[in-house]
C-alpha cells in the first residue's frame, strides 16, 4: 500500500510545550532547531575568524593570541563552519523543513528517529564546545586533523582537545545517519500521488543526492576518526610511523600518515558537494520563482546533479597532490577533477539562462540568488587552477587555496543560505521580514565578501603560505602584502558585524513583521500550497495534495496567471505550448 494511502487524514500532536517545541517530532520544529543551533555555533566560528584576521592583519595587537590560541581558532573555525554549520544547516535545516512539504507528505517517515538526530547533533556540538574546558584546550591541528602532528605534543590540544573533536565528529556522524535515513526514505517512498521523480523540485533532487553522498562518505571520516583515536589512546600504529619526536623515540612504527589523508579526503571531497549540492537545488528554485520562469534545462540539471554526485567520489586525491603519495596518481585525479567541472559549468549556464527572457523581481532572495551565481562562478573557476595538478604544485598551501575554498564553500553557499531564509521566511513564520534591511544586508555582504576574497588570491600567487601565525621578516613577501592583509581584516570585520542586522531582522520580524499571505511569491511548489501559514502539524489538514504537473509551470503560454501550482489539475502537450494554451489550466 502506498505510504500516501495510509494517511488517515488527521494528525494529533501533543499540546504540552515540551513535546510540541522541545522533544518535537514535527519536521518543521526539528528543522528550526537545527537551523538555530547551526547559526549559533556559526556565529562563534565567525568571531573566531575575526580573531584570526586580527592576528594576520595587525600582528600582536591582541596579546592573548599566541601561536597556540591562533591554531586553535584556525581549527575550530574550519571544523565548525564546514560540518556543524553548513552541513547541519543545509541538510538538517532545509532538508528537514522542505522535504515533507515539497513532497506532499505530512512528515518524515521516521519522526522519532528524526527527533533523535537533532539531539545527537546538539550533543555533538556540546562535546565540541567542551574542548574549550579540557586541559590544553581545543585541538589546533587544522580542520584536516592530519596525524602524526594531531596527536603529538607540539600541536595544541594533543592531550584532550583532539579526543573531544574526534568524539564529537563520531556523534555527529551518527546524527547525520539518522537524519539521512529519513531524507532518503521519505523522498523515495512518501511522495504524494502524482509526484513522480521528475516532478520533484531541484531542491529535493539536490538534497537527495547530497544525502546519498553523506551516507556513503561520512563512514570514511568515521573510520579515520576511530583509527586516529586508537592511535592516540591505545598506542596503535595505523597512521603513526617510527618517529623521533622532540628528541624522544616513539614506540609506534609502520603506520602511514598518507593513509589517513586518503580516508579523510575520500570523505572530504564529497563533503564539499554535500554542502554545495543543496545550495544548487535551492538556488534553482529561488531563481525560477522570482524570475517567473521555469528552470532552464531541468533535465540536464537533474543529470548534472547526479553526475556531480557520482564523480565526486573519484576526485579526492586532488587534495593530496603534494602529499608524498605516488605521483602517477596525479594524472588520474587531475583528469577526473577537471571533468567534474563540466556538469558544474552546465548548471551555471542554466541558472543564467533561467534569467534570460525572464521577468526578474529583484527582491532580497533574488539578489542573494544572483549573488550566488556570481560568487560561485569565480569560486568554481579558481578550482580549475587547483585541480590541474601542475598548477596546484606552486599554489598548494598558499592563500590562493584559502581564497578559493572560502569563495566556493563559504560565500557562495552562504549567499544561498540567506536567499533561502528570506525566501521561505514568510511560509515558516507567517510574517514578512523587512525588505530594506534585507537589501542592505545583501549589498554589504555581496560586495564586501568579494572585496575580501578576490585580492586574497593574489597573495597566494605571491607565495604567501596559509596557516601561518605571523609573516615577519620574509623577504619574498612584499611590504604592501601586509597592507593588503590589514585592509582584508577591516573589511572582514565590518561585513561580519553587519550580519547581526540580518539576525535582528529575522528576530524582530517574527513579532512585528507584516502578516504574510500563504503564497507571497506566487510560487508553484507544494510547500506554498498548504492551507495554513505557517503549516500546521501534519501540514495538509485533512487531505494530502495530488500533483498534476512539474514544479516549474511559470508563465505558461495561454494561462491566465503567470504561475500554476503543482496541485492544480490540467496539463499541456508540446502543441499546447507552441500554440499557447493550457486546456485545463484552472483560472484564478
Amino acid at each position: 500500500m502506498a505510504y500516501a494511502d495510509q494517511d488517515t487524514g488527521h494528525h494529533e500532536g501533543s499540546n504540552k510545550f515540551i513535546w510540541k517545541y522541545v522533544f518535537s517530532q514535527d519536521h518543521k520544529v526539528i528543522a528550526v532547531q537545527y537551523g538555530c543551533t547551526a547559526i549559533a555555533v556559526g556565529l562563534l566560528a565567525l568571531v573566531l575568524s575575526w580573531l584570526m584576521r586580527m592576528q594576520i592583519g595587525f600582528p600582536g595587537s591582541l596579546e592573548f593570541i599566541d601561536p597556540t590560541a591562533y591554531y586553535q581558532y584556525v581549527t575550530m573555525h574550519g571544523m565548525i563552519m564546514v560540518i556543524y554549520l553548513l552541513t547541519a544547516f543545509f541538510l538538517g535545516g532545509f532538508g528537514n523543513y522542505l522535504i515533507p512539504l515539497m513532497c506532499g507528505a505530512r512528515d518524515m517517515v521516521f519522526p522519532f528517529l528524526n527527533m533523535l538526530s537533532y539531539w545527537f547533533y546538539l550533543v555533538s556540538v556540546i562535546i565540541l564546545m567542551s574542548s574549550y574546558f579540557v586541559p590544553g584546550g581545543p585541538t589546533g591541528a587544522g580542520w584536516t586533523l592530519y596525524p602524526p602532528q594531531a596527536i603529538l605534543q607540539g600541536t595544541p590540544g594533543a592531550d584532550w582537545g583532539i579526543i573531544m573533536m574526534l568524539a564529537s565528529l563520531a556523534v555527529f556522524i551518527i546524527a547525520f545517519t539518522m537524519g539521512g535515513l529519513n531524507y532518503i526514505t521519505t523522498i523515495l517512498q512518501a511522495r504524494c500521488k502524482g509526484m513522480t521523480l521528475m516532478r520533484m523540485p531541484l531542491t529535493i533532487w539536490s538534497i537527495f543526492t547530497a544525502t546519498v553522498l553523506g551516507l556513503l562518505a561520512f563512514p570514511a571520516l568515521f573510520v579515520s576518526a576511530v583509527m586516529l583515536l586508537f592511535d592516540r589512546l591505545l598506542g596503535t600504529s595505523f597512521f603513526m610511523p617510527y618517529i623521533v619526536h622532540m628528541g624522544q623515540a616513539m614506540e609506534t612504527s609502520g603506520g602511514s600518515p598518507v593513509l589517513f589523508q586518503h580516508l579523510f579526503w575520500f570523505f572530504g571531497h564529497p563533503e564539499v558537494y554535500i554542502v554545495a549540492l543543496p545550495a544548487f537545488g535551492l538556488v534553482s528554485d529561488i531563481l525560477s520563482t522570482h524570475a517567473r520562469k521555469n528552470v532552464f534545462g531541468y533535465r540536464m540539471m537533474v543529470w548534472a546533479i547526479l553526475a556531480i554526485g557520482g564523480i565526486s567520489f573519484i576526485v579526492w586525491a586532488h587534495h593530496m597532490y603534494v602529499s608524498g603519495m605516488n605521483l602517477y596518481l596525479g594524472f588520474f585525479f587531475a583528469t577526473t577533477t577537471l571533468i567534474i567541472a563540466i556538469p558544474t559549468a552546465v548548471k551555471v549556464y542554466n541558472w543564467t539562462l533561467t534569467l534570460w527572457h525572464g521577468n526578474i523581481h529583484l527582491n532580497t532572495p533574488m539578489l542573494f540568488a544572483i549573488g550566488f551565481i556570481s560568487t560561485f562562478l569565480i569560486g568554481g573557476l579558481t578550482g580549475l587552477f587547483l585541480g590541474n595538478v601542475a598548477v596546484d604544485i606552486p599554489l598548494s598551501d598558499t592563500y590562493f587555496v584559502v581564497a578559493h575554498f572560502h569563495m566556493v564553500m563559504a560565500i557562495a553557499p552562504v549567499m544561498v543560505v540567506f536567499a533561502a531564509i528570506y525566501h521561505w521566511y514568510p511560509k515558516m513564520s507567517g510574517r514578512m521580514y523587512n525588505e530594506t534591511m534585507g537589501k542592505i544586508h545583501f549589498w554589504v555582504t555581496f560586495i564586501g565578501t568579494y572585496l575580501i576574497y578576490f585580492p586574497m588570491h593574489y597573495l597566494g600567487f605571491e607565495g604567501m603560505p596559509r596557516r601561518y601565525y605571523a609573516y615577519e621578516g620574509y623577504e619574498f613577501i612584499s611590504e604592501s602584502a601586509q597592507g593588503l592583509n590589514e585592509y582584508i581584516t577591516v573589511v572582514a570585520i565590518f561585513v561580519g558585524v553587519l550580519q547581526f542586522l540580518f539576525i535582528y531582522n529575522m528576530a524582530v520580524s517574527l513579532k512585528y513583521g507584516k502578516k504574510a499571505p500563504a503564497n507571497p511569491w506566487h510560487a508553484t511548489t507544494l510547500e506554498w500550497q498548504t492551507p495554513d501559514t505557517p503549516p500546521c502539524h501534519g501540514n495538509w489538514r485533512d487531505n494530502l495534495p495530488v500533483v498534476y504537473r512539474w514544479a516549474y509551470d511559470y508563465s505558461v503560454p495561454g494561462a491566465e496567471k503567470d504561475y500554476i501550482p503543482q496541485n492544480v489539475p490540467g496539463g499541456h502537450t508540446e502543441e499546447d505550448i507552441e500554440h499557447g494554451g493550457d486546456p485545463q489550466g484552472a483560472p484564478a
Binding site: 618517529i243 622532540m246 580549475l384 601542475a390 606552486p394 578576490f454 585580492p455
Partner: protein, 364 residues
C-alpha cells in the same frame, strides 16, 4: 539596475586589479616556468568565462527586469543550445588539462643527470645532507637518530661516511644543475617550499618523498614549511643559496662529513663562540630569538639573570642552574605563556658551559 552596475564594476575592477596588482609571482628561479605558463593560460580561459558569464548576467538583469506587462518565456529546455555549451566547455576543460598534464609529466620524470640532495624536516627546522665524494647518499632511518646523529645516517653504511651534514645553516646548491630533492621527516608532516622554485612536496615520516628542479638564478632564497606542523610551523625557516660553480666548491670544502661529526667536538677555543655554534647546529633559533621578539619560546636577549614567571605562578631567576635544567630537562619548569613543546638536549657539561657563556654574552 544597481545590481547590473555592480556586476559590471566587479568585472571591470577585477580585470584592472589583475593587471595592476603588485602581488604577483615571485621572480622565477628554477626551470619550472612551464608552471607559470600553464597558470597564465588558465587565466585566459577562466578569465574569458568569468567576464562573459558575469556580463551576460548583468545584461539579463537589465533587459529582463520585472515590469507589469512583461511575461517570461516558457522554455523548459533547448537541447541544441545545451549541447553546444556542454561541448564548448568540454573543449575548454581539456584545453587546460592537456598542457597541465604535459608539464606534470615532466615533473614526475626526474632527469637522469639529477644529483641528489636530501632535506630533513623536524619540528621546527630544516637540516640537509649531500652525497659526498662517492656521489651516493648513505642509508638513513629515524631508528638511527641519536643526539650526535640527528639525521639518522646509518653508521654501518660505508656510502654514508662521506655524506655532508648541514644542520642549522643554509643549504647550498649549484646553479643550472638538476637536483632531485629527497625529503625525509623525523617526526610529523612538513613541506619543503621555496616560492621562487615553484616546486614543493610534503615531507612525510616513514617514507622518502621527492621532487626535482633545476635552479637557474643565483641568489639566496627562503625556505618555508608548507604543511601545518604544530605551533612552530610559521617559524620553520631556512635558506637555500644557489651558487656559481666556484662558490659552490668553496662551500663544499667547508662542510663536515658524517664521519667527522661522529668524531666528537674538540674542547677548547672561545666558549662564547662555541656556544653560539652549538646553538646554531641544534637549531635553537627556530624558537628562540636573539632580538627580543617573541617566538615559540622565550627570547634569549637579556635572558641570563632575568626573573621569569613560571606557569604555576612562581618566580625564578634565570641563573646557571636554571638554564642548564631548561636545556636538559625543559619540561621541569615552563615559563608562563609558552607551550611545553621543547625537546630535551643532553649536551655534555663542557658544551653546556659554552652555551651558558654564550647566553651571558647576550645579556651584556
Amino acid at each position: 539596475m544597481a545590481l547590473a552596475i555592480v556586476l559590471i564594476a566587479m568585472v571591470v575592477g577585477s580585470v584592472i586589479f589583475h593587471f595592476w596588482s603588485p602581488w604577483w609571482f615571485t621572480p622565477l628561479a628554477s626551470n619550472w616556468g612551464a608552471m607559470d605558463a600553464t597558470i597564465m593560460f588558465t587565466f585566459w580561459v577562466t578569465g574569458a568565462v568569468f567576464v562573459a558569464v558575469n556580463l551576460f548576467l548583468a545584461y539579463c538583469v537589465i533587459k529582463f527586469k520585472h515590469s507589469p506587462d512583461r511575461r517570461s518565456a516558457y522554455e523548459p529546455e533547448n537541447s541544441k543550445l545545451e549541447t553546444w555549451l556542454t561541448a564548448i566547455t568540454t573543449v575548454g576543460v581539456f584545453a587546460m588539462l592537456a598542457p597541465g598534464l604535459i608539464v606534470y609529466k615532466q615533473f614526475v620524470q626526474v632527469p637522469d643527470d639529477a644529483v641528489i640532495f636530501e632535506a630533513v624536516g623536524h619540528q621546527w627546522q630544516w637540516s640537509y645532507r649531500l652525497p659526498g665524494k662517492d656521489g651516493a647518499l648513505g642509508k638513513a632511518d629515524n631508528r638511527n637518530v641519536t643526539f650526535d646523529n640527528p639525521l639518522g645516517v646509518d653508521p654501518d653504511d660505508p656510502w654514508g661516511q662521506d655524506d655532508l651534514i648541514v644542520v642549522g645553516a643554509p643549504a647550498h646548491i649549484l646553479v643550472d644543475q638538476p637536483i632531485r630533492f629527497n625529503l625525509r621527516s623525523k617526526d610529523v608532516l612538513h613541506d619543503f617550499y621555496v616560492p621562487q622554485f615553484r616546486a614543493k612536496m610534503d615531507v612525510v615520516p616513514g617514507l622518502v618523498s621527492y621532487f626535482w628542479m633545476t635552479p637557474t638564478v643565483t641568489g639566496t632564497y627562503e625556505v618555508l614549511c608548507a604543511e601545518l606542523c604544530g605551533v612552530g610551523h610559521y617559524n620553520m625557516r631556512s635558506k637555500v643559496v644557489v651558487d656559481t660553480a666556484e662558490d659552490y666548491a668553496l662551500w663544499l670544502r667547508s662542510q663536515r662529513t658524517f664521519a667527522e661529526t661522529q668524531g666528537g667536538q674538540a674542547p677548547g677555543g672561545d666558549p662564547v663562540e662555541r656556544g653560539e655554534q652549538l646553538a646554531q647546529q641544534q637549531g635553537c633559533m627556530a624558537c628562540h630569538s636573539l632580538d627580543g621578539s617573541r617566538g615559540v619560546g622565550p627570547t634569549w636577549q637579556g635572558m641570563y639573570g632575568r626573573t621569569e614567571v613560571l606557569a604555576d605562578g612562581s618566580s625564578v631567576t634565570a641563573d646557571d642552574a636554571y638554564l642548564r635544567e631548561s636545556i636538559t630537562n625543559p619540561n621541569a619548569k615552563i615559563v608562563q605563556g609558552y607551550p611545553p613543546v621543547m625537546a630535551a638536549y643532553p649536551f655534555s657539561d663542557d658544551d653546556l658551559d659554552a652555551i651558558i657563556a654564550y647566553f651571558m654574552s647576550l645579556s651584556e
